[in-house]
Amino acid sequence: MDFSFAQDQELIRKSAKEFFEKECPKDKVRELKEEPKGYDPNMWKKMAKLEFMGLVIPEEYGGTEGEFVDLMIFMEEIGRNIVPCPYFSTVVCCAMPVLEFGTDKQKKEILPKIAQKGEIWTLALTEESVSYEPEDIKLKADLDKDAYLLTGTKLFVSYANVAKKMLVVARTSENGNASDGITVFIVDAKTKGISIEVIPTTARDMRCEVKFDNVSISKENILGEAGKGWEVIDYLIQHASVLKAAEMSGGAQAVFELTTKYTKERIQFDKPIASFQAIQFRLVELLTEVESLKYLVHKAAWNINVGTSNRILNSIAKAKANSVYHRACYQGIVMHGAVGWTEEMDIGLYHLRTKSLEFDAGEADFHKEKIVCDLEQKEPLFLSLYK
């Protein structure tokens, strides 16, 4: 058992932390709220130059061939610093599934552009129901000779407004189980018939409605196997839930730290408010929550890293992240008092992202259902011992 990080992992954290502190201070986060692109292309270019995009992409495809834990560390730092950029949608939601399911040709064509040039990608998955269940994939893709024709609407697709390419999850067959007959398409965002509209959201992370009106996509542009797209999405959910939880863990840590600092400085009744038990107990409970989330994420990521991905743990990490992040922000703001409820304090910037983070890679109920499904399939230890 070892809870500590290796030296090179600590270095990744340090370089990410220093980069974001310098390039993305909170004033910049506030400025980007008004920027129609939703990110800073200059910062994005620098991130690519520093090889952050290619953290888990093999060298032959232009990356630095790091480990999953490296990416987890990087996501924690993104969350800690609140970095408005399409990193999650590009690297986690697209580069990773392409790496896992792409043909050699696809990988050679796609991955170097992401790793080295920071080409922006996004995933068009959720629809009107905003759920992550296979039965809710309704966008139709009908085969017409050598091409599929896509028709339907995707919702809350992040950074579709600036994405060059997207992975689109569509239903190619109505037969069999809901998870059968789903196909993932690699789509150029400029293809005829696609229209994109930015949805105004609190995080300003460019959630878009993407409409497909008879969009023609060649058969070659399928990721993985036609009809077996849910395998891709399941893989994605397993990995994305841990990485989104890492982002939330970093954010919750930051919120906890700045709240603790504030309560030590704020004087009322001639004392720092941190000297009151009402505040102390809230802080202690929050510390416990934040620390447990941190280690749950580390453990889940480590398991993926060594090839023993644990579905229950991945879901536990995201379910826990959803409750801890909200709680940290809400409690943190209340402990700040009225000033915490203004635009002036940084803590509000974190809270504006709560719902964006919560519904990426699955909400708490979705993951809790997965946890119970897994638990009920396993034979508990106490029954197996006396056999």
Binding site: T260, T263, Q280, L283, T288, W302, I316, L381, L383
Partner: protein
């Protein structure tokens, strides 16, 4: 980073499970803090203690010179977790000796004290059973205000006063006692000492106290000119407070056992809800998932604290963090457990060996014991004070 146990550690876990299979009946589950209640349970617990001692499992992380196994803290963690899961009785022998008296004596005891007391504890001997006298009627969370006095007279201390909530005093051979040796000390934390008292001493009266379900776990102790040899002083006279804090931090290291208990209850609930069909109901599923998340969260924190100890790092606030966290977990797991088994959860915990009982009685037992657990070794809020002060460096509130 590495979140798995070594092969050796995993083998050790298997060895414990084999022990369970061999020595505990299939439907047995030793509920927390119940073995002291009746003679039959106590006898069984002590018989298991003897067997555990033969394997040196009562004293896994103790050095070999003290009769320990000389194994790592991680092996001790594994054992504690299995103890909770399987409800292995006899592991604490009245909850003081193996937990904190032994480890404290190793640090603060004289050569003679170590030789006299430690082997008896390690051997799982009835003469190695200890109880602990900290709380008094007017000194609970404010422990340093204790008044029981030990006055030095020649080669002896003469003890007068009263202790309360003394768990297992009716089973113990020795008492680990905190008392006031300097009533004139300017600060209340000064002037406190730790001494060893023979439970057979003249002038010492043990009066049973029943808890709210009628179980006899703790007692009142009355000291009327109880004489003990001066050599029974542990460590330095009047410097007992810091020794006591050390002993308490050992006492608070039980989080991983609590996680084992909760995991067992979760597993039992899964089977119960499958058999009854309750698991098909969405609210039940949510409840099960809720506690599954909380158990994993508590467990990873308990692991972190023990990992730090195993690496020789100083743990300052972690045991208190985890004690408070598991107090909350116990309440939640037992409450949800009772909600799931429904009206069956009202079966009397002391007369539960009947056909109406569900899950070996473990849910309602925990439901009524969880508040006791939240008080023992310092209340949940006392733990939070410690975390605030020593973990977050917040200004003192009181």
């Amino acid at each position: 980073m590495d979140f798995q146990f070594t092969e050796r550690e995993e083998n050790f876990r298997q060895e414990i499970r084999e022990f369970v299979k061999k020595n505990l009946p299939k439907d047995y589950y030793g509920n927390f803090l119940e073995e002291e209640h009746d003679d039959k349970s106590w006898e069984f617990a002590m018989s298991i203690a003897k067997k555990l001692a033969e394997k040196k499992w009562l004293t896994i992380a103790w050095p070999k010179e003290y009769g320990g196994m000389g194994a790592s803290h991680m092996e001790q963690l594994i054992f504690k977790e299995e103890v909770g899961y399987w409800g292995i009785p006899g592991t604490t022998m009245g909850i003081s000796g193996t937990g904190w008296v032994g480890p404290s004596l190793m640090i603060f005891g004289t050569k003679e004290q170590k030789e006299k007391y430690i082997p008896l504890i390690a051997a799982g001997d009835p003469d190695g059973v200890w109880c602990t006298g900290y709380s008094e009627p007017d000194s609970g969370s404010d422990l340093a205000s204790l008044q029981t006095s030990a006055k030095r007279e020649g080669d002896e201390y003469i003890i007068n006063g009263q202790k309360v909530w003394t768990s297992a005093a009716h089973r113990a051979r020795w008492l680990w006692l905190a008392c006031k040796t300097d009533p004139t000390a300017k600060k209340k934390h000064h002037g406190i000492s730790l001494v060893v008292v023979d439970m057979k001493s003249k002038g010492l009266t043990v009066r049973p106290l029943e808890n709210l379900v009628g179980a006899h776990i703790f007692n009142e102790l009355f000291f009327n000119d109880v004489r003990i040899p001066a050599e029974n002083l542990v460590g330095v006279e009047n410097k007992g407070w810091s020794q006591l804090m050390q002993a308490l931090s050992f006492e608070r290291g039980g989080a991983v056992t609590s996680c084992g208990v909760c995991k067992r209850i979760l597993d039992e609930l899964i089977i119960y809800t499958k058999e009854t069909g309750l698991i098909k109901k969405s609210p039940i599923r949510q409840k099960l998932a809720d506690i599954a998340v909380d158990i994993e969260a508590a467990r990873i924190l308990a692991y972190e604290a023990d990992w730090k100890i195993s690496k020789g790092m100083t743990v300052i606030y972690e045991p208190s963090r985890d004690k408070a966290n598991c107090d909350v977990l116990f309440e939640k797991v037992s409450r949800i457990g009772t909600e799931i088994i429904g009206a069956y959860s009202q079966i009397d915990t002391l007369n539960s060996n009947n056909r109406w009982r569900k899950l070996k009685g473990m849910v309602q037992s925990l439901y009524f014991i969880c508040m006791g657990m939240a008080i023992a070794a310092g209340t949940t809020d006392t733990q939070r004070n410690i975390v605030g002060q020593f973990g977050l460096h917040l200004p003192k509130a009181y």
